[in-house]
């Protein structure tokens, strides 16, 4: 697995959130929390599973929180992936 920079992780997460779950990219990038994006409770679990599949980084349920902004999620994924 090639080393990922946080900027790469951010790009991948935003792409997953907009393409897989139809969340508005501009609002994600503007710093809206997942709560403010009005996601349902399963989307963060599904996102975590896609991170495992696409980035090879395994997250536990609850690592991604609905109070997070995109940069918080990037930080957790980078930490779990040993990249931070």
């Amino acid at each position: 697995m090639p080393t990922l920079a946080p900027a790469d992780i951010k790009t991948r997460l935003v792409t997953l959130l907009s393409e897989k779950f139809g969340l508005p990219e501009d609002e994600i990038l503007a710093g809206a929390t997942f709560d403010e994006l009005d996601i349902d409770s399963l989307i963060l679990v599904e996102l975590g599973l896609l991170v495992r599949k696409e980035l090879g980084i395994v997250l536990a349920e609850g690592d991604l929180k609905s109070s997070f902004r995109i940069d918080d999620a990037v930080a957790v994924v980078a930490e779990k992936g040993g990249l931070a």
């Binding site: 349902d40 409770s41 399963l42 963060l44 599973l49 896609l50 495992r52 599949k53 536990a60 349920e61």
Partner: protein, 358 residues
């Protein structure tokens, strides 16, 4: 002995059974703080079935078992057309083993399988229950198949049956929406690994660290030894939904990959994946993990919900009856449930005669 003869258990009969009463999402919305839209978007389920007062798991197990035995009889006779009349006198020839996967037995003691066997005209055969919650059917299939390949049985009736409506908290809008009652059954016979329907391998596993994610806290020895009545809610089934979702997807995907590698199949070659019908979003996530298009998934939870041990054989029966499963298809079964437990099995689909499950 030639290299071509490898004793195997071969699927040769299949049937399912549902209770008479369907509960649509609208009925739950009228009673609980939920909506049809909420249930559909979170689970994919539109209705589930529940048994009537006084009915029991064995009633569904007997109905599914009878249909599987009839399916085996008609399949053996090359009878692919629907004909009138009930099961023939020889509906259960040679069956010498009944394995029932259930977590909702008729009684805490004894096992339900002997009563089911008797009602199917199989008094005298080996009969026992297996408990692995939603993975129960795969565990039962592996057990029965292993007994056949070991020569301890010639022909087995393997049933998955549960009535979770009897252990759900009436006030829990989440579990009430997800779970339904139902049963499915298959007949296995001794045969050769090269035949269509031969079970080609299994992967089974467990992790007791997740025991509390899916549980009925009270009613077992841990609580009863205290000799104090449990709180009302501890009598009911509880599930930690998001953690279970995560574990279910990871466990089924890893188990499927393990089995595929063991038997030398590539994921891309799978024609159908029949995963435990837990939640349509879990099924889609499993397809994502396996890199498979969603159209490879068999999905019947829309009309039956999560029927626990009945789930996989009921999905097989629906998919066989409507032509989704075609003879020769490479089929992977994979389940996940309380325990935690998981398991997978693989076979090439045979050509069983299967009645639609009404």
């Amino acid at each position: 002995m030639t290299a071509a003869t490898h004793r195997a258990a071969v699927l040769c009969g299949l049937g399912g059974a549902l209770p008479a009463t369907a509960v649509p999402n609208s009925a739950l919305a009228a009673e609980l703080d939920t909506t049809d839209e909420w249930i559909r978007t979170r689970t994919g389920i539109r209705q589930r079935f529940v048994i009537a007062p006084g009915e029991a798991t064995s009633d569904l197990a007997v109905a599914a078992g009878r249909r599987a035995l009839e399916s085996a009889r008609r399949t053996a006779h090359g009878d692919r057309e629907t004909r009138g009349g009930g099961p023939g006198k020889d509906a259960a020839p040679d069956v010498d083993l009944v394995v029932l996967a259930t977590s909702t037995p008729d009684h805490p003691c004894p096992a339900t399988a002997p009563a089911v066997a008797r009602r199917l005209g199989l008094t005298g055969v080996a009969a026992f229950d297996i408990g692995a919650v939603c993975t129960g059917f795969v565990y039962a299939l592996a057990t029965a198949a292993s007994m056949i390949t070991a020569g301890a049985a010639r022909r087995a009736l393997v049933i998955g049956a549960d009535t979770f409506s009897t252990i759900l908290d009436p006030a829990d809008r989440t579990t009430r929406a997800i779970f339904g009652d139902g049963a499915g059954a298959v007949v296995l016979r001794a045969g050769d690994q090269a035949e269509p329907g031969a079970l080609l391998g299994f992967d089974l596993g467990s992790d007791g660290a997740g025991e509390e994610l899916i549980t009925v806290p009270a009613g077992g020895s841990r609580q009863r030894s205290t000799a104090t009545p449990p709180p009302e809610r501890d009598r009911y089934f509880t599930m930690q939904g998001r953690a279970v979702f995560n574990e279910a997807v990871l466990s089924m995907s890893k188990s499927a990959e393990t089995l595929l590698a063991r038997i030398g199949w590539r994921g891309a070659d799978l024609d159908r994946v029949v995963a435990h019908q837990a939640n349509v979003r879990i099924l889609r996530a499993v397809a994502d993990q396996l890199g498979l298009p969603e159209d490879r998934l068999v999905i019947n939870l829309v009309r039956v919900g999560n029927t626990v041990a009945g789930s996989i054989p009921l999905a097989l029966a629906d998919a066989a009856a409507d032509g989704t499963l075609r003879p020769g298809d490479k089929v992977l079964l994979t389940g996940f449930g309380g325990g935690l437990t998981w398991g997978s099995a693989a076979l090439r689909w045979p050509s069983p005669y299967v009645e639609p499950v009404a």
